[in-house]
């Protein structure tokens, strides 16, 4: 089996000179299927079993629970808006179908566009395709609202990969987190699309009561055909948004009316378990924490950054609580963590090993400041009630500076120690 596959691969190998792009793609898929037979030269004779592919794929593995829940929640929110199947498990097949119809195109577009650019640049530079986009491509759909137009997603990925990464020299050289950069692009280039309450629930013409649903061929013919054959409930193209539905996220509610406004709409259990509108992957806190724990225990993501960020967030919310000038500031500090995407940013965004601070001390500072600054942006920013995207991008820019000072301190310490040793040297 293995031998046959190897033979097959060697048969289809394209010519490197004549078809560089094809060969790059071939090489990427081949090294995906087989770890190459390279052996060590000049240096250590044995290497750790860990490589960048394995590192990256474990982040993707940690995201899987978020993918599953996020998919289902897209459908769940859709039917909540219509006032149908309001129980979490009611109409599960419809919710799953709706979720998949939204998520798969987002994922496919992000991957095809992103990897296409990676392959192109890799073949142009004549090196192997690097694995960075494996993670970025998995993160991007999860931090986008479900109803984002696909062309905006494609543009944002193009911007993030070309300007954010390839312009700096590829994976490992970028300064800003690629996934967040694509989100920032959407946020600043198409503010009307991503702000407001419309985009957080999918498949509706509008969120006002009485608005219709947007169903297409896949709903009306493909899935309804299957569901009818099984005798299950089908998508109802005449359904309208129920009375009294707003589709607002907890954060926008908190921004307008504080904790009371939030609890009028959602229970704390709903917010904790994630059955609320929001970006696709960020809503279910326990599943994100499982992923975070997995990353911290396996040592893939820095637990120092995570703890530092949690600490920074807590300190800032306490300060805001004590200040209490607006209703948003008065939201009890522990409830701040029930809303928004704090944990998702903490587990998967801040810990990016390329853009984070590289020194141990620096990681503490970096994490703390993200938590601290992010909470300020969330609560005090008048336009957009969430802060992690901006805080992390901001601290990405400052990470080299933090590292610089940590390293300068190390140099200073070394000089001091050299003087101390010289002072005690005999015969000098």
């Amino acid at each position: 089996m293995k031998k046959a596959l190897l033979n097959f691969f060697s048969k289809i190998e394209p010519n490197k000179e004549k078809q560089p792009l094809l060969h790059t793609a071939y090489d990427a898929f081949f090294t995906f299927a087989f770890t190459p037979n390279e052996t060590t030269v000049n240096g250590v004779h044995m290497r750790d079993g860990m490589d960048l592919k394995r590192l990256m794929v474990h982040v993707v593995l940690a995201l899987q629970l978020c993918f599953v829940f996020g998919t289902y929640n897209i459908g769940h929110q859709h039917f909540l808006a219509l006032g149908e199947y309001t129980g979490f498990l009611e109409g599960a097949h419809l919710k799953l179908a709706q979720g998949l119809l939204k998520l798969i195109p987002l994922y496919a577009v992000a991957m095809i566009v992103g990897l296409g650019i990676e392959f192109f640049y890799a073949s142009k530079k004549g090196h192997a395709v690097e694995e960075g986009f494996l993670v970025s491509g998995a993160l991007i759909p999860l931090i986008m609202p479900p109803d984002l137009p696909l062309w905006i997603l494609a543009l944002s990925v193009v911007f993030a990969v070309i300007i954010g990464k390839e312009a700096f020299g590829g994976t490992g050289m970028n300064i800003l987190n690629i996934a967040l950069l694509s989100r920032v692009f959407v946020f600043f280039a198409y503010p009307t699309t991503i702000s407001g309450d419309e985009v957080w629930v999918s498949g509706l013409v509008a969120t006002a009561a009485g608005s219709g649903v947007e169903y297409g061929w896949w709903h009306n013919v493909f899935f309804n055909g299957i569901f009818e054959a099984f005798g299950w409930a089908t998508f109802d193209a005449t359904a309208v948004v129920a009375d009294g539905y707003t589709g607002a996220t907890p954060l926008s509610l908190a921004f307008k009316g504080g904790w009371e406004a939030v609890t009028a709409e959602y229970t704390t259990a709903q917010m904790w378990w994630g059955t609320i509108p929001g970006s696709i992957g960020e809503s279910c806190k326990p599943l994100i924490l499982v992923g975070a724990l997995f990353l911290a225990v396996t040592g893939i993501a820095s637990w120092r950054i995570m703890v530092g960020m949690l600490f920074g967030g807590v300190v800032m919310t306490l300060i805001l609580n004590a200040w209490g000038a607006t209703e948003f500031m008065q939201v009890p500090w522990y409830y701040q963590f029930y809303m928004g995407s704090f944990f998702f940013a903490m587990a998967f965004m801040a810990t990016d090993p390329v853009t984070a601070s590289g020194t141990t001390t620096g990681k503490w500072i970096y994490g703390f400041l993200i938590g601290f600054v992010g909470m300020i942006v969330r609560v005090m920013n008048p336009a957009y009630p969430e802060g992690w995207m901006l805080a992390i991008i901001f601290m990405n820019v400052f990470a080299p500076l933090i590292d610089h000072y940590v390293i300068e301190a190390n140099i200073g310490r070394r000089n001091k120690r050299a003087l101390a040793v010289a002072a005690t040297t005999k015969g000098a």
């Binding site: 596959l5 190897l6 090294t31 087989f34 770890t35 190459p36 037979n37 390279e38 052996t39 060590t40 030269v41 240096g43 250590v44 004779h45 044995m46 290497r47 750790d48 079993g49 860990m50 490589d51 960048l52 592919k53 394995r54 590192l55 192997a128 690097e130 694995e131 590829g170 490992g172 050289m173 225990v297 040592g299 893939i300 820095s302 609580n321 004590a322 200040w323 209490g324 008065q330 090993p353 390329v354 601070s357 590289g358 020194t359 141990t360 590292d403 390293i407 190390n410 140099i411 310490r413 070394r414 000089n415 120690r417 050299a418 040793v421 010289a422 040297t425 005999k426 015969g427 000098a428």
Partner: protein, 547 residues
């Protein structure tokens, strides 16, 4: 200065707290628990300070009246020593023990089961000029093919430093002078006699000889190249007096030999060597002793050595590396020089004085998963690999490594052991494809990563092979380097400063404290499969040219 700093910080913190409380009092009801919390913290802090101050006063008073010198005897708090059980092993309770939790032990198959030393049946030996860093590739060879030499006779010298002489490890006939690329001398091969004959030395009396005469004698004797100098790991400069001499008496590398066995029967020579070194340095001779085991004390030749400073080290590899030990005791900076001979070099040096013979015999560990019977062999410097492993290698597709799998060098089977190595490791070549090897590795492999189930089997020994397990990538900041380097050094930043040729930064980040073997474990764990040892050597070469 520092306490003023702290006081002002405390003041700012206090003001901040007051501000918080003030702001809180104006805030809405129902949030007042925050005030109570802050008040509680303030009260707690107050009491802690009061208790701490009175406790210190008590201790000061006790010390002044000379009742007890023992720390903590008068304190109501238990000292940190009482709270944490001492890591010091029984045999070193009163010694200085330095522990580091950083590092990683690579457990490999093919370790030696018993400490018996067998006699090697090796006939050919060679000295390879390339083993010496910084000497010219074409040294002046003073012998010709067909000449007979005695052990200790000079066979070549470097034209740049003609006073440093390189000696034959065994007596016999020069059978080959092999040349490598660009007519460089690759190896000078000697066919050993059955009965060893030694060059006679006019050994000076250690009690009366001056340092200059001693250095002149050692330069001509042939043992000088065995003493190595840091920074750069080069042959010592005869004009420079070393600040200190550091000797690590244990090797923590994978499958490394036990120096207790190496020194066995040669204790007197070891002590004699230490005495000579004491004459050569202006400072002290430091001995790094093994405190890794709770029960097994180091060999008495080490723990009972006279006239040296003894420091115990415990932890994981690379704690046995002399560079790590220097860093944690008296680190070197750019202008300073220390010598770092290994244990067998000290023994050879001592035998030159105690027996007046050039005894370059070495106890070599023959180890690795592809060795049928791992064992210690008694032989001489530069023994031929194929004769050392004759009939003892399990398969064909293997790699011979002079040294350990981390810092050793690959050697051909018909080549010779390198000058400074006392270990020969033979492992399997890893030139195979592995299906989805990065995702679901089938065979167990050593790794520090928690993504492998290795932590479930703490004592498991790995076969290990030379596969890179992935391709080379750009540096990422995983923090793995810092996990395995027990030094206050940032390896990744140092590597980058070498790559951009920033001399000042290299020096500032501590390049002088490192040689390849110290950074080898970082290279092992590197997920980007970067060649750190090679980069470091390039940086060291550049520093040497500059300085």
């Amino acid at each position: 200065m520092k306490s003023a700093h702290r006081k002002s910080l405390l003041l700012i913190f206090g003001l901040f707290l007051a501000d918080l409380v003030h702001a809180q009092s104006q805030a809405i009801q129902g949030q007042s628990w925050l005030i109570y919390l802050l008040l509680a913290v303030a009260i707690l802090l107050f009491f802690v300070i009061v208790i701490q101050v009175s406790d210190n006063l008590l201790a000061i008073e006790a010390k002044r009246s000379g009742i007890s010198e023992k720390a903590g005897a008068f304190s109501i708090f238990p000292s940190s020593k009482e709270l944490l059980p001492s890591r010091k092993p029984n045999y070193a309770t009163d010694e200085r023990v330095i522990h580091s939790s950083k590092g990683f032990n690579i457990l490999l198959e093919g370790n030696i089961e018993n400490g018996q030393v067998n006699q090697a049946k090796v006939n050919t030996y060679a000295i390879k000029p390339q083993n010496f860093i910084g000497i010219s590739p074409i040294p002046k060879v003073t012998v010709e093919v067909g000449d007979t030499v005695k052990a200790g006779d000079i066979i070549f010298f470097d034209k740049k430093n003609p006073e440093v002489k390189y000696a034959a490890p065994v007596s016999g006939e020069i059978i080959e002078i092999n040349r490598g690329a660009k007519r460089s001398i690759a190896e000078v091969v000697i066919l050993a006699e059955k009965k060893m004959s030694y060059r006679t030395y006019d050994t000076p009396d250690l009690a009366t000889v001056s340092r200059e005469d001693l250095v002149q004698f050692l330069l001509g004797s042939g043992v000088w190249p065995m003493l190595r100098q840091r920074p750069y790991n080069v042959i010592p400069d005869p004009l420079v007096v070393p600040r200190d001499v550091f000797i690590s008496t244990f090797d923590s590398g994978p499958l490394s030999p036990d120096n207790g066995i190496v020194v066995g029967g040669r204790e007197a020579a070891f002590q004699a060597g230490l005495d000579v070194l004491n004459k050569l340095t202006s400072g002290s001779v430091y001995l790094g002793l093994d405190a890794r085991s709770q029960t097994d004390a180091p060999h008495t030749a080490f723990s009972g050595a006279q006239g040296v400073e003894k420091i115990f080290f415990s932890g994981k590899h690379p704690i046995g590396n002399v560079g790590v030990q220097i860093h944690n005791t008296r680190p070197v900076s750019g202008s300073e020089v220390v010598w770092t001979p290994d244990v067998q070099a000290v023994i050879t040096l001592g035998a030159l004085f105690s027996e007046k013979k050039f005894k370059a015999d070495r106890i070599v560990a023959i180890v690795g998963s592809e060795i049928k019977i791992p064992q210690y062999l008694h032989t001489f410097q530069g023994a031929r690999i194929s004769e050392l492993t004759d009939g003892n290698v399990a398969s064909d597709n293997v790699r011979y490594i002079s040294g350990d799998v981390l810092a050793g060098k690959q050697v051909a089977s018909d080549s010779f052991l390198n000058f400074y190595d006392d270990q020969l490791t033979v492992i399997e070549e890893g030139d195979y494809y592995e299906m989805f090897g990065w995702l679901i590795p089938i065979a167990p492999r050593p790794s520090i990563s928690g993504t492998f189930p290795n932590f479930l089997f703490p004592g498991l020994k790995f076969k290990g092979d030379t596969n890179t397990h992935g391709e080379r990538r750009a540096f990422v900041k995983t923090g793995d380097y810092e996990r395995v380097l027990p030094m206050d050094i940032y390896p990744q930043q140092l590597m980058k400063s070498i790559l951009v040729n920033d001399i000042e930064r290299m020096e500032g980040l501590g390049i002088h404290e490192l040689v390849e073997e110290d950074i080898a474990l970082c290279e092992f764990v590197c997920v980007s499969k970067q060649p750190l040892q090679q980069i470091l050597r390039e940086g060291l070469d550049r520093m040497r040219e500059e300085g």
